[in-house]
Every structure is written in structure tokens, then in C-alpha cells.
Symmetry: C2
DNA sequence: TTGTAAGCGTTATCAA
DNA sequence: TTGATAACGCTTACAA
């Protein structure tokens, strides 16, 4: 319902009979204006319903006290945890957070980076390591601190906070093999860079054990039903399959549900391992064995690095590798 | 890595030997400048790596061509679908979308509304119907179109797009009763307003059938493990329970998993109904019976209403009630 | 304690 | 086809 335009500092000043400068002072430190003026300004703000407009300040200082976060998806607990970590740190320092999502697309990432920069964010947290040339150019031009997180890029734009997905996958697959399974298949979806890093770890573990790697993948988004489909495909292509390492917990849970449907016991007939350690895995019987990733911590460290950079300090670990672990599930 | 400041239109103008006005024109409609100038400007933009700064335009026109969307959570497919619907419409019309999350908190909603307004969004889409007094005052003052979505508030701020959760719950519960179950318990979490609407529908259905309503609730967030806990609690408080209507699919799936663990057959020993029709329900055996909600469509209609308002048109349905349905699951 | 003036980067308007 | 000027709302620096 567009109606009258929003009140400005000038409107308040007119009403009170001072200049907007006095009102501006009141907004930032009420003690700095006379007690009597203070009361009148407070009253005027109340009646007019003044809302601070931060655009002029951004324009003149070209700083917005805002950090942008780009996530691939809005429906993944993994990124929600990351954002929570970021906001825990930024909130304390009086910074706001702007969120946008890329749908795992480089082109959309480029759009969103432009959007964020056009809003003059002071720093940017990205969750992908592959970027379009124009994205890289914009980030370089913008000259703001940038953190790439969730994984460690081979050549970071600026700073990075991640974990060694390849090593985590290697260890998980080695554990599966150590449990006595020989026919381990990697189930992958979407084929984003983290999925590929896990694939590499899987393949190394298989080769080290003298086993033949077998990957069953889809370009589709991962989902629970997709997990069931991938298991079906794996059993068709590799009938001896008796273990699967899944690129994430959604796939893994889909596999477990399908196993029950097919009468396959987990882990006896089919060992199942996931990745991320989401809540759904804990609700399964047996509990899903999964790689635990420090999402919130990654968010926290990313934000800390950004804020340190903005203060002109040199972050202790501009490239930080955080630890992962494997939970005590029973599905392997 | 803060370095040189970003190039402005003036920098490009200096390099080319025209005024910034000409460059500004080029940015918006390249045909409006002479072909020779055009080429020189294009080259300068390329070398300097100019990034558009939209802050000044927002300042002078106090319009940002941006729509804000406030969702409760970043890890819920329901809201991801909503946003997708919104962006499908706004994207077509050249509007950008800013997303923030409230964690189901009125106080955080207030903060985020202020953030969005301070960035001069042209319209706002909210997913809650309860708002703090200050939020209401700010929205009223801002004078921008506002849509409340996901449910229908009794007195909308401006426009609304939702569905009748009470009726949907009523029908689902009636169907459970019709299937022969008498001891139907409602499992609730987080107790947000939609959870309460479903509770009302549940209670009406029970009373109409001459049955005693029984609610087992937690204030905690819903999760799969929480579903298991709630079932346990229901069976303790109401040992005869042979059906549960769950406030969402996460709870429902948690219940089904726990049922398997306990050796309860679904639906024979325990009928289970969910809400939202998420993918995980389809992966269950039997498939989860659930209420299908038109999330993406709600997003689309919400955005359409906002854009129509901005054009000064009167939306055909400022308050739109969208249809729901029940899937053909087998868990009831 | 309060006021004045200038400036942030863009665009609308009017002029050349 | 291009330019000059003013304006958007706030803050910084300086003045009273």
C-alpha cells in the first residue's frame, strides 16, 4: 500500500525545531544532545515512526556494516549451520548479514555477487570454489575480504576455511573395507566439486586396498528417493555390491530405506556410509555411520577472518583446515 | 584484501574524455550514445572493471528494484520452494530478491524487517502472521506492499496468500478416523502459528467424531529424532494410541522409523500422517500419507501481488486462499 | 550544545 | 548526441 513517503531526519528536525544534524547526533548518541531536546526528538521519532535509512551512509562511507553470504541451497541443514556460525560472530560485532543462494550455478553466483557488491557489502563468504571469470574480476576489483568456505580451493581468491573432503572420504572408505566389505560402490549426485573430492578419496582408498572403484552417479539433485534409485542402479551394474559410500546423508538414508524394502540387512548385507552427520541419520535403525563436518565452526572462522581483515589485522589462519570425524553409527 | 577503491562512472568518463552523464546513459541504453563513444566506453569499463553501484540510485529514487523475503528457517524445503516461486516471478521482471531468516522469532523478524527497509526494498514477503508492534509500525510507515504468506492472517497487514491449514488438518484427521482408528494423537513441535492452526483442525475432527483429542507437544524444533521422542511420549501418556497426525513430515518420518524399531506395523498398528508432502515421505515404505501444500505457487502469487501493487494495479486477489490436497500415501 | 557546508555516486531534467 | 546542474538523506569536519 504505497502511501506517504517515509519520514527523514529533516522531518523530525522540522517538527522539533532543530536542524537534522542534531537529530542525527541524537540517533547515534542521545547523551550528546540537551536533555530537553532529547525528549522532544524522541517524541517526534515516535509519532512519525522514523526508520533509519542506511543508504546515504553507505553512499558516503561506502561501507555498509554488512557481510554477504552465498550458499548453494536454502533447504540444506549444512548451509543453515554455516550461516548460523557466521551470524553468531557478525551479530556480536554489529554487522548484518545478507544471504543469497546460487542453486549450485556459477552463472547465478555471478549475478548474486554483483547484487551483493552493488549493495556495498563489506565482505563476502562463498561456498563454492569454482567461479566464473567475471565473478573473479568483480571480486578482485571490489577489494573486499572474501572467504571461500566448505572446502579448500587449490588457489584461494583471498582466504579460505574448509576441510579435507578427500581425506575424510578416504578414511571412511578404508573403514568400510576394513570391516570386511570388498564391493564398495560410491553413490554420487549433482557432481559439485565436493562430491568430486569425495570421489577421489574413495578411489584412492579402493586402489590402496587393491579393489576396483565403481561409481554410480546422477546429475540430478540429491534426495531421499534418488538414494533409492542409485542403489537400484548400483545393484544392477554391480550385483556383488555389499557396501555403499554415499556423497551425503540424504542419499544414504534413501539407500537404507530401500534396503529395508528389499529385505537387505544393514550392515550385514549392505554397509551404508553417509556424509555430514545430519539428524535424520540418528533417527535411523541402525544409526547411520557418517562423516561429521564442522559447519557452524566453519561459519564462525569465516566470519572472524572477514572481520579481522576489515580491521586491518592479518587473520592468524587465512587458509584454515578444520578437522572432521566419523560418528559412531552402526550402519557399517 | 582492501585495496584501491572501486572505479566510478567518473573514472570511466575521465578515461574516455566525456562526462559521467554520457557513461551513465551508456550503462542503461548503449544505443543512446554515439557509436564511437560507445566503443571507447565499453573498453574503459572492461579495463577498469567497473561494477555498478546501485546505492546512489536507491538514494535518489528511493526504489531499489528489490523485493525482500523473510523466512523462518534456511533448512526447510518448504521455504526453499516458496522462495523459488518468488524468484521465478521477480526475476522475470528484473527485480532482485533479498533473503533473511527469522528463526521463528518475532524479535529477529523485527530486526530483519528494519534491515530490509533500511535497504529500501520495494516490497516485502513475510511468512509469519504474528508481528511485534514495532514491526507493524515500521511496515505501516514504510508504505510498501507487503504480503503475508504460508497462512491466512485474520487481519492482514496488506495482502495475504495462504491456505486453510485448519481445514486441511480437519480433513486429514477425519480420514484417519474414517479408516477405523479411534485413538488419534496430534504430535506437535515448536508451536508456531501454523502448528496451532493444525491443532485446531485436529481437535474439531476429533470432537465431531465424538472422540477425545490428545496432544503431545514439545517446544523444541522439529526433527526426525524428535518425532521418535514424541511417539514414545504419546505411547506413555496414551497407551491405546493407534494413529498419529504429525504437524510436519519430519516428525512423521521420525515416528515411522521409531515404529519399525518398536516392531509396530504402519498403518495396521499405527497410522501415521504428515504434513507438506516432502520427498523423504515418498522414500518411506509405506509411503507417507501427507497434506500437499502449494509452496511454490504461494511464492509465485505473493510476488505477483507485490509487483502488481508496485505498478499501481489492484491485485485480483489481495487475499488469496490456495488449495491443498492429500497425497496417495499408504501410511494411514 | 547546536549549526553550516560539503560530499558520497548516480539519475532526472533541462539546455546546448 | 552530449553536458551542466540539482537532488536523494545522511555523516564528517569545522564553526559558532
Amino acid at each position: 500500500m504505497p502511501q506517504g513517503k517515509r519520514p527523514t531526519l529533516q522531518d523530525i528536525a522540522n517538527k522539533v525545531g532543530v536542524t537534522k544534524m542534531t537529530v542525527s547526533r541524537y540517533m547515534r548518541s542521545p547523551e550528546s544532545v540537551a536533555a530537553s531536546t532529547r525528549k522532544k526528538i524522541a517524541a517526534a521519532i515516535e509519532t512519525l515512526g522514523y526508520i533509519k535509512n542506511r543508504v546515504p551512509a553507505i553512499l558516503s562511507k561506502s561501507s555498509s556494516k554488512t557481510i554477504g553470504v552465498l550458499v548453494p541451497s536454502l533447504s540444506n541443514q549444512v548451509f543453515a549451520d554455516l550461516v548460523q556460525g557466521v551470524e553468531a560472530v557478525t551479530g556480536e560485532e554489529g554487522f548484518d548479514t545478507l544471504i543469497a543462494h546460487t542453486g549450485y550455478s556459477e552463472a547465478i553466483e555471478e549475478e548474486k555477487v554483483a547484487l551483493m557488491l552493488s549493495y556495498q557489502v563489506d565482505g563476502l563468504i562463498l561456498t563454492e570454489t569454482r567461479h566464473s571469470p567475471r565473478t573473479l574480476q568483480m571480486l578482485n576489483q571490489a577489494g573486499i575480504p572474501v572467504v571461500e568456505t566448505m572446502e579448500l580451493p587449490s588457489s584461494p581468491i583471498d582466504m579460505a576455511v574448509g576441510l579435507n573432503h578427500e581425506a575424510a572420504a578416504f578414511h571412511m572408505v578404508s573403514a568400510i573395507i576394513a570391516s570386511g566389505k570388498q564391493h564398495v560402490v560410491y553413490l554420487a549426485a549433482r557432481m559439485d566439486s565436493r562430491t568430486l573430492l569425495r570421489k577421489t578419496g574413495y578411489e584412492k582408498a579402493m586402489k590402496q586396498a587393491g579393489l576396483q572403484p565403481a561409481v554410480v552417479a546422477t546429475l540430478a539433485h540429491s534426495s531421499f528417493t534418488q538414494g533409492g534409485e542409485l542403489l537400484k542402479e548400483a545393484l544392477t551394474q554391480h550385483p556383488k555390491t555389499n557396501a555403499v559410500f554415499c556423497t551425503n546423508d540424504d542419499i544414504a538414508v534413501g539407500v537404507m530405506l530401500r534396503c529395508k524394502h528389499l529385505g537387505l540387512r544393514v550392515p550385514e548385507d549392505m554397509a551404508v556410509a553417509g556424509y555430514n552427520g545430519l539428524n535424520i541419520g540418528e533417527a535411523m535403525t541402525p544409526a547411520l555411520t557418517s562423516v561429521l563436518t564442522p559447519r557452524e565452526e566453519m561459519g564462525r572462522v569465516s566470519a572472524t577472518n572477514i572481520l579481522q581483515s576489515l580491521r586491518g589485522e592479518r587473520p592468524a589462519t587465512p587458509v584454515a583446515e578444520l578437522p572432521w570425524s566419523i560418528n559412531d553409527g552402526r550402519s557399517v
